[in-house]
C-alpha cells in the first residue's frame, strides 16, 4: 500500500471550480484513479461527485482530467502516473455540473449535427448488405470504429477550448465513417456540415492532442486530414 495525495477540483452545483479538495489515500499498486475516488467518497467525503459505470474502459463515462491529461479514470493506474500527487479536474471544454461531473450536451450537439445514423436507401431490405473485405470501407475503417463517445478528444482539443462551434474530432470521425459507408446516402448534408467555415474540418490545425489522448487509440487526426484532402474531389467518397 502506498500513500497518495489526491487533489480534486471541487465546485458547487452552480458551476465553476471553487476550491481544491486535498485528500490522502492509501492504495494498492494496481489500483486506479477510480478506486481512489471511490475510497475518498466512501471514507472521507461523501459529497464528492463523479461519474462511472462499467469500470473497465468500455463505456467512456469516467472521462476526466487527470494530471493534466484527459483520461479514463478506470483505466489510469495511479502507479503509472509516476508521482505521488494525483490532480483530478473535470473534463475541459464542457460545462461543469458539480465536482467532476460535466455535461456532455455540447459534445452530443455536435455529434448530432453530422447525422450519425445510417441513412440507407433500402430500409425495407430483408437481405443483409454485403460489404466485401477488399472494399475501401472494410480496409480503411476498422480501426476508426471503436469510439465510445467518452468526450476525451473533445476535452483535449486545443481548438475546442476557444471555439464553440467546432465539431470536434469524435463527430468528424463519425461523419467520416458514414461517408465511407457504401450503404449511406446522406453524403451531401454531411459534407455541408463538415465544410462549414466556423466549425468544420478546417478548424482543425493538426495539434494531435485528440489522437494522443483517445483511450481507444483511434487516429483521429488522420481521419480529419483525410477528409480535408478529399474535399477537393468529394465524389471520391463513394468509390469502392
Amino acid at each position: 500500500m502506498k500513500s497518495y495525495q489526491v487533489k480534486i477540483a471541487r465546485s458547487s452545483a452552480d458551476g465553476g471550480i471553487t476550491r481544491i479538495g486535498t485528500f490522502q489515500v492509501a492504495l494498492e499498486e494496481r489500483m486506479t484513479v477510480l478506486d481512489a475516488l471511490f475510497n475518498i467518497q466512501r471514507t472521507q467525503d461523501d459529497s464528492l461527485s463523479f461519474r462511472c459505470a462499467c469500470r473497465v474502459g468500455m463505456c467512456g463515462t469516467c472521462a476526466m482530467y487527470i494530471n493534466s491529461v484527459p483520461r479514463l479514470a478506470c483505466k489510469t493506474q495511479v502507479s503509472q502516473l509516476d508521482t505521488e500527487t494525483v490532480t483530478i479536474a473535470p473534463l475541459p471544454n464542457l460545462p461543469v455540473i458539480k465536482d467532476l461531473v460535466v455535461s456532455l450536451e455540447p459534445f452530443f450537439k455536435q455529434w448530432k449535427k453530422i447525422k450519425p445514423a445510417l441513412h440507407s436507401p433500402n430500409r425495407d431490405a430483408t437481405e443483409p448488405a454485403k460489404i466485401p473485405a477488399t472494399s475501401r470501407y472494410a480496409r480503411e475503417t476498422p480501426q476508426k470504429r471503436d469510439c465510445i463517445t467518452c468526450g476525451i478528444c473533445y476535452g483535449a482539443c486545443g481548438i475546442k477550448s476557444t471555439n464553440e462551434e467546432y465539431l470536434g474530432p469524435a463527430a468528424i470521425n463519425k461523419a467520416f465513417l458514414r461517408l465511407m459507408d457504401p450503404r449511406d446516402t446522406a453524403t451531401e448534408e454531411r459534407l455541408d456540415v463538415l465544410n462549414e467555415e466556423r466549425g468544420g474540418v478546417w478548424r482543425c490545425h493538426t495539434q494531435f492532442n485528440c489522437t494522443a489522448a483517445c483511450p481507444k487509440k483511434i487516429d483521429l487526426t488522420d481521419t480529419i486530414m483525410r477528409l480535408k484532402r478529399s474535399m477537393l474531389f468529394p465524389s471520391g467518397f463513394k468509390k469502392a
Binding site: I159, E197, W202, H205, L232, P234
Partner: protein, 116 residues
C-alpha cells in the same frame, strides 16, 4: 457535387508556404550572401537601388510580397476565426477587412517601386 470553397484556401496556404520557402531563400541569398553586398560592406543605398531599378528584380519582389500577403493574411484570418465567437455575418466582415488590408498593403508595396 458543389465545390467547397474552403478547401481551396487550405491548399493555397500550403502551396504559398512552399513557394515562400523558395522565394525567401532566393531573396535572402541575393540580399546577404552575394559577393557584392557581403564584400562591399553593409547594404547601402547605391547597392540596393542598382538592383531594385532592374524590372526583373522588381517583378520578383512584387510577386514575393503578394504571395507573402496571401499566406500571411489567410493565416491571420484562421487565427481570428479560431479565437473569436462571432456569427457568419461577422466572419464575412472580417474576411472583407482582411482582403481590403491585403489590397492596400500590396498597393503600398508596388507603389514604393513605381516612385523610384
Amino acid at each position: 457535387m458543389p465545390a467547397y470553397r474552403n478547401v481551396i484556401w487550405w491548399y493555397v496556404q500550403r502551396i504559398t508556404g512552399a513557394l515562400l520557402v523558395v522565394l525567401l531563400t532566393m531573396h535572402f541569398w541575393v540580399e546577404h550572401f552575394m559577393s557584392k553586398t557581403l564584400m562591399r560592406g553593409d547594404l547601402s543605398y547605391d547597392v540596393i537601388l542598382s538592383r531594385i531599378s532592374n524590372p526583373w528584380w522588381q517583378g520578383i519582389d512584387i510577386a514575393f510580397l503578394l504571395v507573402a500577403l496571401l499566406h500571411g493574411l489567410n493565416g491571420l484570418r484562421n487565427i481570428i476565426l479560431d479565437y473569436s465567437r462571432v456569427g457568419p455575418r461577422m466572419t464575412q466582415a472580417i474576411t472583407v477587412v482582411l482582403v481590403v488590408l491585403g489590397v492596400m498593403w500590396s498597393w503600398w508595396g508596388i507603389h514604393a517601386f513605381s516612385r523610384l
